[in-house]
């Protein structure tokens, strides 16, 4: 059976879905999946299948999928492994196109499970049914409004695709993406990959118009050379961010892949992947941080950075990190110094980084950023502490309302509103400048960013991006620069330094 990108697209854009093993028993997989699909608002027929229920989640429940009156594109299976073969028979009679098998207890559990898994794959192949899993935590397809994972995370539509062999790690990444405002094009926990492998998803994602960035977590590469070949083509147009689980003997043992002895081969493959343009990271949260940069800002054409900071210390720290990671901070022309200086006290630094010296003039940060981004000597901007200041202002407002009988509450309300509006305004300005000058502006909020790292500005291609701390901004900038330089066939910089 041939697993084409079209088949994967069918899987992700089903007209109708059924869940075999649907239940409202709290916390069971059959409950997690069906309630997520229903609550997520899937805009098509949903059929719960359970011989012992009349209705589930307000929907009519069927004893068998053979009783379902309409055609079924996609079926989730969440019943014990030993009963799976029976329902697969029914699926084939029903003409089901794709199956996502949540059920575990297959290849991951030993010889018996392996042999059952083999039978499942052979049967599905012979009946032309696409099989994801088994032992998967589900799929998410935001452009179809289909949320079918154990955790009820519902990321918004976006350009980042996640493929993960570990369901829990993948789901957590999607959870973080949702919190941080990063939109996704799809998520799949590929599980045991008994039939459909991550490579099939990659072939699909290469063509998928919604996907611009691909995030991969893999423990078992299988045909590694095929992956490298595939990646080499994809990375010309779409960056691949890749975390390999089981790099060490301890990790491989934990992954039960038993490839710990093949550390040498892993190393060779790792090198090949880097040559194929794959961006390798070792830390899960870095997958998120980097996808935020790739999906939000234009890519820089060079390594010359202008820094605007509210507070000198952060400018120093950021300058150190920039230089240590291969960037330079160009000096500023005299006319630019003069223009910015109009908004600052006479003793300001008059250099790059531009330290705004705690100025409260709301125009100063905007003028400084625009004057710098305009310069042909500057390829990218990092701006620290402008957005995020609201949290400090709010603390002050709280104090004053507690202890100052002389300041009217209306005044405090006005300050609070202004500070919230200003942050929104500044984010908009950043996006506007990026659209005009086609250079990245990366914000550092220095706070925990309750509003998320990525903030969309209506109708704009780019997004306002705020990392919590400067090293994230510098790492993000480095990643998009290296990707851009490689794509342009320029001389690559030295490999991304570790912080």
């Amino acid at each position: 059976m041939e697993i084409t990108p079209d088949r994967i697209r069918q899987l992700l854009f089903p007209k109708s879905v059924a869940v075999i093993g649907a239940t409202n028993y709290f916390g069971k997989w059959g409950q997690l999946i069906i309630s997520n699909i229903v609550a997520g608002g899937f805009a098509g027929p949903i059929y719960p299948i359970n011989p012992r229920a009349e209705t589930l989640f307000g929907l009519k429940c069927y004893k068998s999928i053979l009783d379902v009156p309409e055609d079924l594109d996609l079926v989730f299976i969440a019943i014990p492994a030993e009963k799976v073969m029976d329902v697969l028979l029914e699926c084939s009679h029903k003409g089901v196109k794709s199956i996502v098998m949540i059920t575990s207890g297959f290849g991951e559990t030993g010889e018996e499970g392996k042999s059952l898994q083999k039978r499942v794959v052979e049967y599905c192949s012979s009946k032309n049914m696409l099989l994801v899993g088994p032992n998967t935590m589900g799929i998410i397809s935001p452009y179809r409004g289909l949320f079918a994972t154990g955790p009820h995370t519902r990321p918004k539509k976006g350009s980042v695709a996640f493929v993960s062999q570990s369901g829990n790690l993948g789901n957590q990444l999607v959870f973080w993406a949702t919190q941080q405002g990063i939109g996704i094009s799809m998520f799949v926990g590929s599980g045991n990959e008994a039939m459909v492998t991550y490579r099939n998803f990659l072939e699909y994602l290469e063509q998928d118009p919604h996907t611009e960035i691909i995030v991969l977590y893999l423990e078992e590469l299988g045909k590694g050379r095929e992956f490298v070949k595939l990646a080499n083509g994809i990375t010309k147009n779409k960056p691949i961010l890749f975390l390999k689980g089981g790099r060490t003997a301890s990790g491989a043992k934990a992954a039960l892949t038993h490839t710990g002895a093949l550390a040498g081969e892993n190393k060779v493959l790792g090198k090949a992947m880097k040559q194929a343009g794959v961006i390798m990271v070792n830390i899960p949260s870095e997958l998120l941080e980097l996808s935020a940069a790739f999906s939000s800002v234009p890519f820089p054409k060079g390594n010359r950075v202008g820094v605007v900071t509210l507070g000198g210390g952060w400018g120093v720290v950021t300058s150190d990190l920039l230089e240590e990671m291969g960037f330079v901070l160009p000096e500023l022309p005299k006319d630019v110094i003069d223009k910015i200086g109009k908004y600052l006290p006479p003793f300001w630094s008059k250099t790059n980084p531009v330290d705004l010296v705690g100025t409260r003039d709301p125009d100063a940060p905007v003028v400084a950023v625009e004057e710098l981004i305009k310069l042909k000597e500057i390829d990218a901007i990092i701006v620290l502490g402008i957005v995020g200041r609201k949290e400090v202002v709010d603390l002050l407002l709280k104090s004053v309302s507690e202890v100052d009988p002389d300041t009217p509450p209306e005044f405090l309300k006005k300050v609070e509103d202004f500070s919230a509006q200003y942050e929104e305004y500044f984010g908009k300005k950043m996006v506007e400048f990026m659209e005009v000058y086609q250079k990245p502006i990366i914000g550092v909020s220095l706070t925990t960013s309750v509003s998320g790292m990525v903030r969309e500005v209506g109708g704009c291609k780019y997004k306002a991006l705020f990392y919590q701390s400067p090293e994230q901004a510098v790492r993000g900038l480095k990643a998009i620069l290296e990707y851009e330089m490689r794509r342009n066939q320029s001389m690559p910089l030295s490999p991304m330094s570790d912080l």
Copy 2:
């Protein structure tokens, strides 16, 4: 004038305070400081000084400190630089012991400022008045209930001391510490260090019974060799976490220290500091992460780690990071496997990491952690995904309440309460095990930890510690292990690898 630890103690534990330049003009330094002291609840007389106000923040206002009826221990000065000499004269007449000079426009601004700064120091010295700053963002002394910084962050009492030459960076660290539940013993923005330097604070902190961990941000080392000598003594009992601003030419230029040419000397000093046991970091947030570990858990005696995880992928990632940073994951004895196995499905991994395979038995994580920490072959535990799961449960509860007419709301409420209580219970258990077995248990919540990284458990020496992601846990563990090994004069491990 001799700056002894006793003088620093006087500064941090004043009986009375005055603010020269106090105002309720929103956002001015004179307003920020006085309103913070008042709202922070300083338990002693507070005197606002301003010739043009009758009352401020509900307190009687004085035209000059000479009008204040009582003795004054500590005076904050927040008036323009050119008026400073006049009020210093008044301070000396009044017999003021310590001055924190918020005012900027001195040594950091050029030749004129430098010469004024010199006069200020000479005058204060001659009158035996201790001078912090100028150009400082203030001090915090939680054990005296004194919060006197620009930002109104009020960290709780604890064991971490912060000394920062950059006010904004230092204040931000304290802000993060407050959010993350890390208690502090003091904070000082040492500013221009015209008289009192970071070394004076270090001498005090070495003796201060409240301080167990010292966090330093410095741009200008001054007498570096004295620092190394001092640090060498301190680190035997108290770890010093140190971030040097201006390591690179760009950073040094931004710091206006103009020591960029002395990069070689910086390198030599850096080496000497490492030998003196100073823990050097390059990233501000790492100062926080590491202080959380140092101030919360017992230090490990070796590099053998047991991992308990809710979800295999996180176990794999953590195992890789542990091995890459010099840790080992010992195999588990058969009887321990049998005991843990009673709580898990038959196909569980039976190895270290212990993957709890999504079990919902509330006893399983507790039993697994205790069985591992008991083992003489294990020095430390990392436990992932148990605390933090609540966020996922809450999402599910929301879905079910929206789409399941058959599940009674009381049931959902019960699940919600149980999941919250369980997280608290599990944190308590972690602390209890640490007290009994004297080995660190480090949690990874995988969430944004709205409750903070550090959670106190009433009456206990240790605290429940939850990092957001595994690399933070591994870095934290590595830092406390290296410190402990050095202190025990054992063979040090290889230097902390970079992630």
